[in-house]
């Protein structure tokens, strides 16, 4: 039997991987993927909680998150494309025009 804590830990690990990924990867596409990873780690958590508490709220929430993730990805990719058109790069470290 896998305990609730294990799910939580897994979720936290995934979440952390996502965050760390955002921080260390330079390619925006990878960063988008890390964001997805973060969202999905939360999904895991929701489902696990929902299952262990016998409360469906969490599972419903997951569906919403799917939708949101999709929308986010769409807009995110669009931005990346637009940016690529202008600068011909998607290196995140190059994005330094606005500062101060």
């Amino acid at each position: 039997m896998v305990a609730m804590v294990d799910y939580a830990i897994l979720s936290a690990v995934l979440f952390t991987i996502g965050i760390v990924g955002i921080l260390i990867r330079r390619n925006i596409i990878t960063i988008l993927m890390c964001i997805e990873l973060i969202l999905n780690s939360v999904n895991l958590l929701f489902v696990a909680f929902s299952r262990f508490m016998g409360n469906v709220d969490g599972q419903i929430f997951v569906f919403f998150i799917f939708a949101v993730a999709a929308a986010e990805a769409a807009v995110g990719l669009a931005l990346v494309v637009a940016y690529f058109k202008l600068r011909e790069t998607i290196e995140v470290d190059e994005i330094k025009l606005l500062k101060g």
Binding site: I19, I22, L23, V92, D93, I95, K96, L97, L98, K99, G100
Partner: protein, 649 residues
């Protein structure tokens, strides 16, 4: 007429207003007439009131009082704008108005060619207004009005030739040094208000008498108050340490020196103390201080006077010295003698100044005639033998010299001798000796002046000599009037030993009660002895001067060389001005600059600006941090989360 005391000072005020507002457009003649006429009216009115008052025993005891309106009044403090014409102030008023009138008349001639003629008369009239206010004031504060007012006029008149730096410097110096004195005066007034609750002379006097104060009671506050008032007096009456302005004040027109810096204004310190004698008597320490300051000033100034070469400077130091005598008199408790000397001094010193003015006038014309512009018309080394050209001036000047040197029966003899005797009689023998020695010096420098100026041969060139002539009668008549007064002025105060009535003392006796237990010894033979001694001293001074300057010798320069060290010190007036500059004026300026350039600019404003730049600096640092990199942003967020973690767990 006794309801019109206030008109006495107001006449000159009207004169001032007329001349000041419209004088520029009026012809010179009218200006002169208005100026002198206003004073004449005052004088006449003063005479009328004087006699009316004396005719009425009630009035003559308390004086004539005119309350115009309450001036400053709040809480329990009330000062009226009020004039009091009593025996003392009345006598003083007569002298002030009379001498002023003569000098105004004299000025019509003396200033005839000046550009600022109307301005001069306006100032002079304003001066008389202020002086009369000072004299007639019924309370200390109003007296202070006049006190500062005459200072203002003195400032304006010293700086009459304002386009020269010397004159404007001198004017400013006079004002500021006087202010130092006034600082004391104000504080003194505060103490008096605190003690007596009023500044009215009568109230103060009543307060003292009703409280039965005697010198033993009042050691402390009254001593302090009187000392402070005396500080005021040293400023106005040019005593050590504040005498320094008076010699410089000679930069003004000569009649001004005669009126303000000899006859009237400078004596107001003495007058104030006489007026407040009931208070000063309660402070023996103050009196002792006054006596010593006076005595030392008399000697000190006289020594400087012996070597000066500027005719007016000699007279100026002489004035300082004579004022010293007056204070000496006050200090030993001989208030009436002090006052007596005010009067006689006014006559002969005004005469001396006017005479010197006449001489300067002549020299000026002479130089003008010779086409010389850079020669100092006041330097006695360039004069000599003027007797020939200006006999009236010479004779009147000589009378004044005899008076100041203390030759009987001229005015100065009586007053000065009275002072010296009182000093001796009150057991201040050292002070007597100082005074006596100063008398020798006085006689010496005055005769030196006479010899160098009027006798011997003229020391200028031919062209100059041709330009010399006697002054117009508008100038010589006042000289003669004053000469007359210098002769007879002393007769109102014969010493007891003459067995002639001492009018002045008798008249003023009620004003000066002996509440301070001031004791004078009665020793007729001693008094006679000393009188002869002092006459002898005057003769000694004269003979000495005659020996040195009466004929052409190189004795003076030899003497100067022998005592080169002393001579230089004396010639440079003991370097007092330089010392003041080094110790006070320059440090104050330096402090000012330090305050401005360091404390204000660097420290205070620096702190203000620093905080501004600090803020900018913080902003700049932050804006460097916000470097545009997404990763930094994300890390910052994580940092924030960590902070929250730290707070939460």
């Amino acid at each position: 007429m006794t309801g019109y005391v206030w008109l006495i000072p107001v006449f000159p005020l009207i004169g001032f207003l007329i001349n000041g507002l419209f004088g520029r457009k009026l012809p010179k003649k009218v200006v002169g007439i208005v100026g002198s006429g206003a004073i004449l009216l005052s004088f006449l009115l003063a005479c009328v009131i004087f006699f009316q008052m004396n005719g009425n025993p009630e009035l003559s005891e308390h004086g004539v009082k005119n309350i115009l309106f309450p001036w400053i009044s709040y809480g329990d403090f009330n000062v009226n704008f009020a004039y009091l014409f009593d025996r003392l102030s009345g006598s003083m008023t007569l002298m002030v108005a009379g001498v002023s009138f003569l000098i105004h008349v004299y000025s019509i001639g003396y200033m005839a060619e000046e550009e600022g003629y109307w301005r001069y008369f306006a100032y002079l009239n304003l001066f008389v207004f202020m002086m009369l206010t000072l004299v007639l004031a019924d309370n200390l504060l109003l007296m202070f009005v006049g006190w500062e007012g005459v200072g203002l006029c003195s400032y304006l008149l010293i700086g009459f030739y304002y386009t020269t730096k010397v004159a404007s410097d001198a004017g400013k110096k006079a004002f500021i040094v006087n202010r130092v004195g006034d600082f004391g005066f104000i504080l003194g007034m505060f103490l008096i208000v605190t003690l007596f609750g009023s500044l009215e002379f009568e109230k103060i006097r009543e307060g003292i008498i009703s409280a039965g104060l005697t010198p033993e009671h009042t050691f402390g506050v009254i001593t302090l108050a009187t000392i402070l008032l005396f500080v005021g007096a040293t400023g106005k009456s040019a005593q050590i340490p504040l005498y320094v302005w008076l010699p410089d004040a000679m930069a003004g027109p000569t009649p001004v020196s005669a009126l303000i810096h000899a006859a009237t204004m400078v004596t107001s310190g003495v007058y104030m103390i006489v007026k407040l004698n009931f208070l000063f008597q309660l402070a023996p320490i103050t009196l002792l201080t006054i006596a010593w300051v006076g005595g030392l000033t008399a000697l000190f100034a006289a020594t400087i006077g012996t070597v000066q070469n500027d005719i007016k400077k000699v007279l100026a130091y002489s004035t300082v010295s004579q004022l010293g005598y007056m204070f000496l008199a006050l200090g030993v408790g001989a208030f009436i003698a002090g006052f007596f000397h005010i009067l006689t001094h006014a006559f002969f010193k005004a005469l001396l100044f006017l005479g010197s003015g006449s001489v300067i006038h002549a020299m000026h014309h002479a130089y003008h005639h010779a086409g010389i512009h850079d020669k100092d018309p006041q330097d006695i080394r360039n004069m000599g033998g003027l007797k020939k050209y200006m006999p009236k001036t010479y004779w009147t000047f000589l009378i004044a010299t005899l008076a100041i040197a203390g030759f009987p029966p001229f005015a100065g003899f009586f007053s000065k001798d009275e002072i010296l005797w009182k000093a001796f009689a009150s057991n201040h023998k050292i002070l007597w000796a100082i005074g006596a020695f100063a008398a020798v010096l006085t006689s010496f420098y005055m005769f030196r002046l006479v010899y160098l100026t009027f006798l011997g041969d003229f020391r200028g060139c031919k062209e100059e000599e041709e330009g010399l002539h006697e002054s117009p009668s508008v100038m010589t008549v006042p000289l003669m009037a004053l000469a007359f007064l210098s002769v007879v002025g002393g007769w109102m105060g014969f010493p007891h030993i003459f067995h002639l009535p001492n009018l002045l003392e008798h008249y003023l006796e009620p004003m000066v009660e002996n509440i301070g237990n001031i004791h004078f010894m009665h020793n007729v033979s001693m008094e006679w002895t000393l009188m002869f001694v002092s006459v002898g001293l005057a003769i000694v001074g004269w003979l000495f001067a005659k020996f040195l300057y009466g004929r052409k010798t190189d004795a003076p320069s030899k003497l100067a060389n022998t005592f080169n060290y002393f001579y230089t010190i004396l010639l440079n007036k003991y370097y007092v001005d330089e010392i003041y500059f080094a110790l006070i004026v320059n440090p104050v300026k330096k402090i000012g600059e330090f305050c401005w350039l360091f404390i204000d600019t660097v420290i205070i404003d620096g702190a203000v600006n620093l905080s501004a730049s600090l803020a900018r600096c913080v902003g700049k640092i932050y804006s460097l941090y916000q470097n545009g990199a997404v990763k930094v942003y994300a890390l910052t967020m994580l940092g924030g989360i960590l902070i929250l973690f730290w707070i939460f767990f």
